[in-house]
Amino acid sequence: MHIPDGFIAPQMYLPLYAAATAAWAYGAKRVGQELDESSLPWLAALTAASFALSFVALPLPGGTSAHVTGVGLLAVVFGFWQAFVAASLVFAIQALLFGDGGITTLPLNALAMGFAGALAARGLFLALRHFHIGLALFLAGWIGLTLPALLIALALGAQPLIAANATGEPQYFPFGWGVTLPALLIPHALLGLGEGALTLLGWRLVERLRGRYQHG
């Protein structure tokens, strides 16, 4: 479920835009440096994959399903900056072309899911892959979903503190951390187990396919 516009106070989203813009500028530069002249089509294809990943159903017991974010998988397969830039472009496309999510929540989503989620997933994968690659991939997928949930819960829960009226009543998102942290963290920590499993399975299949393009 995307957070629509109107729940995040401008006192928070405007500074987040400043931080995200700096990260996007640096990220675009890094992606351009790391890739050759084909970086544009490469980034477009990665963005399309990141967009389409959100339509892959994450199987849950009982026949139900949630949606994959794929940030952890993109970060371990392609690298942190590429995952961040691609995920950010997806949030922008979803907001501006499909009206899904919001333009004021874009920097929060980009920084929480694209930046922090991808950075934690990539960092955990690199730190643990020599110890146990399967565990490293599983935890990368798990943290790629759970850490953004924590950050978004913190941002939502801060709204009553930063934007209340004279009588102390909230003017944007109404619940504090006592509600947002358990409401977002508990389900996402559990969903993260499924995302971790899919990251592991996805990586193994990708490894089988990768050779043909590296040598082709």
Binding site: F7, P41, W42, A48, V56, P59, G63, L201, V206
Partner: protein, 183 residues
């Protein structure tokens, strides 16, 4: 040029609306935006309502229940103001989507335009193929697929997706190079 002005106007309207905390101003903004929508107003209002209903409805019901239970009063001010703001901002976005060509609005950057066109066109193809994957899994058995079968199917869909990324990037780069687009 007109598309860029509309983009700037849309962004300015979104930022201005996000600062509003008075129901009367928000209601006025909603009336003006509906007037700007013209004949499409009912359709766009419906789309905006559907797009925001799940989150707004959940939060509004939870907050109304919490306030009613703990303070024995309904937060009417909050319910009206926040839901009007959310609806108005969503309506502005849908009005922007129907009236503005985003590819032209972003044409000040040739690279950004290329990126957007390539990403969106590939996204739609991938989305459609993933729907085929899902229908394929459902059609292969009369019984619902087991959890492990659904995991294997999801992993194969992801692997196909990432395989396409590598192939599409390669194909697009060659196509654009041959047409001089990357020079």
């Amino acid at each position: 040029m007109a598309e860029r002005i509309k983009l700037v106007a849309y962004l300015a309207a979104i930022v201005a609306t996000s600062w509003l905390t008075t129901a009367a101003w928000l209601a006025g903004g909603l009336v003006i935006t509906l007037a700007l929508c013209g004949r499409a107003a009912p359709r766009l209002l419906r789309r905006a309502t559907l797009a925001t209903a799940a989150f707004s409805g959940t939060v509004s019901l939870a907050y109304a229940g919490y306030m009613g239970w703990s303070l024995h009063r309904l937060p009417l001010d909050w319910l009206i103001t926040v839901n009007l703001r959310v609806l108005l901002m969503a309506l502005l976005t849908f009005l922007f989507i129907t009236r503005v060509n985003p590819f032209q609005a972003l044409s000040f950057s040739r690279r950004l335009s290329f990126l957007l066109v390539l990403a969106v066109s590939q996204s739609l193809v991938m989305k459609r193929t993933l729907a085929d994957f899902r229908l394929g899994l459902e059609s292969r058995s009369l019984r619902p697929a087991s959890l492990s079968a659904r995991y294997r199917a999801a992993a194969h869909a992801i692997a196909w997706l990432l395989d396409r990324v590598l192939a599409n990037a390669h194909d697009s780069a060659q196509a654009m190079q041959s047409r001089g687009a990357l020079r």
